[in-house]
Amino acid sequence: MVPLSWYLALSAVLFTIGVVGVLIQRNVISLFMCVELMLNAVNISLIAFSRLHADVTGQLFVFIVMAVAAAEAAVGLAIIIALFRSRETLNVDDADLLKL
């Protein structure tokens, strides 16, 4: 059986990649993907603990997170399309004004 620490290590690596991505990327779609990466990194650790403790609560959390992530993806992509339409760019540093 794969030990718990492997899952946790994988989760930590994925989370860190997500964080670093959020910090260094400028493309708004990349940012969005990095955020998803962070969410799913957390999901992995939740599942791993759920299995370790033989408790479904963790898996329930994961479902909620996935549902929220799906909703967020819909809203987020809509915002990205609206952003591109108004500014013709996906660079977040150029979108530092609320009003043009």
Partner: protein, 726 residues
């Protein structure tokens, strides 16, 4: 239940005139307003005077030894064992005071109604004057030190308002300020003394009170019956009260405000700065006489300061050319006499002089006001002369005042001054021979008094008419910068007699100045009949017994305690030593020790004071008739340069310290520096912190990450760190 109306009647007048005077002026015009305002003011004081007379008769009807009428309005302050009532006390001392305050006050109000004619601030003037009456009556009728202090401060305030009455004239403004500041210095002593009285005796009342179910004797009775003589506390209390008295009554070293106070209208000078307010200091000392008698040191200080002030001010008075300034210094000098009397233990003689002085000095001031009025606001005596012809009534009344203040035999001032001088000579309250030395000072002052008053009369009423000499700088010395009322009359050039509103009070005061002294004729001069005034006042004023000291010390305590507890009449004390056969039945203690050789000596001294007065008058007449415009030594004309001395030693340094120290260093550098420094600190902080607000979302995300790492790191170290090792 009449006492409160004596006090409050003038207050009602003050409120009506103060609040509605302006309205009257707008609706009725100047002439009708003057009539209405003058009537309200005089009527309110008239009511007060009538009631004062009435309650005084009530007081006389009470049996001797129980003459006290208390009136409790409400308990004002009650904190722990401290209690101050809003209550009045009428006893012989306050009785005498309210009689002459309301009496002289009424006359001066009537006079002022004529004097202030044409002044646009008529209602303001009378409002202040009535308020003053209210405060003065509160002062003398108060039954405890705190209420007395209310009146004390109140008269100071009214004095300030009235000295600075001519608001457009800056000299009046500075004089008012000076009076106020000097009185503050004295008040400091008064307050500390009051605190000391409370901590020492546990009460500040002049009458016995029930506090928290316990009968507490008045602090005066406690002091009188206290066995400890010359305890430091008694000296401290007495001297601190005297500091207050020097401020209010213009004694050395705080006397310089009174001559400057002459910038106020003349009726004010007569009422406040001669007859009533300035004698409040004497009242305070006489009221606290049991405390003073326990402290020979304090008595000596009071006597010496009094005598020094008397001669000091008299010598200045001889060199002044402003008619009101002469009278002002004369007032300071006479107040010195009163304190001399208190200091040698003759408190009753001091009060007697207060009363006669109120009559003749009010008369002299009002007379001088009439002269100033008649001369169209000329105050410089060098430009007067020969006024006798033009102002018959003023001249004759001033003539009476002149004789009275000089101590001409059988006038009011003669009896009181003679009494003071005799008591000074024969005092036993002071160390050996001090009395004799002080008597010499007092006697010289008596001569000088006669001389400078003669000079005033000669320069003003007799001799050549000098007012026609020069027409230039006519208003130079005049006080009425606010467009003098003299102009309203249209009598330019020639002196003229004043109207009846002004002359009638003069006549009444002149009569009082002649006969006012007869209430206190000493036993030695009245065929053995006792001194009524002294016997009457003995109940509320402790006396140190003169001459025959068969019972030294004891009686004041006994009298105070008995009258306090409404006990029986003080038991007649027996005296073997030479009681005169002429002593009547009622005249026990007093007459008895005045018997024997003392009567002879006292009569001799009466003869000496008469001679002194006549000497002064004769010298003055001969000298000043010949050298009317005699120039006094520069030092005297400059008032010994006391003002300059104070300027150099106190005012100057305080000013320099305030400007260069408090303003330029403390205010500008420290206080402003503190405020500006705080502002600058936050500006710098904000300047540093604004660099953290970059506006880039990723920077904020990085900070959030950093925070998360720190929190997680903390947990790892504190919790997981241990588990991992296991």
């Amino acid at each position: 239940m009449l006492l409160k109306w004596i006090v409050f009647a003038p207050l009602i007048g003050a409120i009506i005139n103060g609040l509605f005077g302006r309205l009257f002026l707008a609706r009725l015009g100047q002439r009708a307003t003057e009539k209405l305002v003058g009537f309200i003011a005089c009527a309110s004081v008239g009511v007060s005077a009538a009631l004062a007379f009435r309650v005084f008769l009530d007081l006389l009807r009470l049996p001797e030894g129980q003459r006290r009428i208390p009136e409790h309005l409400f308990t004002w302050l009650k904190v722990g064992s401290f209690q101050a009532d809003f209550a009045y006390l009428l006893d012989p001392l306050s009785g005498v005071y309210i009689l002459f305050i309301t009496g002289v006050g009424l006359l001066i109000h009537i006079y002022a109604a004529g004097y202030m004619h044409g002044d646009p601030g008529y209602y303001r003037f009378f409002s202040y004057l009535n308020l003053f009456m209210f405060m003065m009556l509160t002062l003398v009728l108060a039954d405890n030190l705190l209420l007395l202090f209310v009146g004390w401060e109140g008269v100071g305030l009214c004095s300030y308002l009235l000295i600075g009455y001519y608001i457009k004239w800056d000299v009046a403004g500075s004089a008012a300020k000076k009076a106020f500041v000097m009185n503050r210095i004295g008040d400091f002593g008064f307050m500390i003394a009051t605190f000391l009285v409370f901590t020492t005796f546990g009460t500040i009342s002049f009458v016995a009170k029930t506090i928290n179910g316990q009968e507490v004797q008045s602090f005066l009775a406690q002091a009188a019956s206290s066995p400890a003589v010359a305890a430091g506390t008694f000296t401290a209390i007495a001297l601190l009260f005297f500091v207050g008295a020097t401020g209010k009554s213009a004694q050395i070293p705080l006397f310089t405000w009174l001559p400057d106070a002459m910038a106020g209208p003349t009726p004010v000078s007569a009422l406040i700065h001669a007859a009533t307010m300035v004698t409040a200091g004497v009242y305070l000392v006489a009221r606290c006489s049991p405390v003073y008698l326990k402290s020979p040191t304090a008595m000596a200080v009071v006597a010496v300061i009094g005598a020094a002030t008397a001669i000091f001010a008299a010598t200045i008075g001889i060199a002044q050319n402003d008619i009101k300034k002469v009278l002002a210094y004369s007032t300071v000098s006479q107040l010195g006499y009163m304190f001399l009397a208190c200091g040698v233990g003759a408190f009753v003689a001091g009060i007697f002089h207060v009363m006669t002085h109120a009559f003749f000095k009010a008369l002299l001031f009002l007379g001088s006001g009439s002269v100033i009025h008649g001369m169209n606001n000329e105050q410089d005596m060098r430009r007067m002369g020969g006024l006798k012809k033009y102002m018959q009534i003023t001249y004759s009344t001033m003539f009476v005042g002149w004789l009275a203040i000089s101590g001409f035999p059988l006038m009011a001032g003669f009896f009181s001054k003679d009494e003071i001088l005799w008591r000074t000579w024969s005092t036993e309250a002071l160390p050996h021979n001090w009395g004799k030395a002080l008597w010499v000072v007092g006697a010289i002052t008596a001569v000088i008094t006669a001389v400078y008053m003669t000079r005033l009369m000669v320069m003003t009423f007799w001799g050549r008419e000098r007012f026609t000499d020069t027409r230039d700088s006519h208003h130079a010395g005049a006080g009425h910068a606010s467009g003098g009322h003299g102009d309203a009359h249209g009598h330019h050039g020639r002196p003229h007699e004043s109207g009846w509103l002004m002359t009638v009070p003069l006549i009444i005061l002149a009569i009082l100045s002649i006969f006012g002294g007869y209430v206190g004729v000493p036993a030695a001069l009245s065929m053995g009949r006792p001194n009524y005034f002294e016997r009457f006042l003995k109940e509320s004023v402790a006396q140190s017994e003169p001459a025959t000291a068969t019972h030294a010390g004891a009686p004041p305590a006994a009298v105070m305690a008995q009258s306090e507890s409404h006990g029986a009449t003080p038991a007649p004390e027996s005296h073997g030593a030479g009681a005169t056969a002429g002593a009547t039945a009622g005249a026990t203690a007093q007459t008895a020790h005045e018997g024997g050789h003392d009567v002879v000596t006292e009569r001799l001294f009466t003869a000496i004071s008469s001679a002194l007065a006549l000497l002064g008058l004769a010298f003055g007449l001969v000298f000043f008739k010949r050298n009317t415009l005699w120039r006094a030594p520069k030092l005297l004309e400059d008032k010994y340069r006391v003002d300059e001395f104070y300027d150099a030693t106190v005012v100057g340094p305080v000013e320099t310290l305030s400007r260069d120290g408090l303003w330029k260093v403390v205010d500008v550098k420290i206080i402003d520096g503190l405020v500006n420094g705080v502002a600058r600190l936050f500006a710098a902080l904000a300047g540093a912190l604004r660099y953290t607000q970059t506006g880039f979302a990723r920077n904020y995300a990085a900070v959030i990450l950093l925070g998360a790492i720190i929190v997680i790191g903390y947990f790892i170290v504190s919790i997981f760190g241990i588990r991992i090792n296991i």
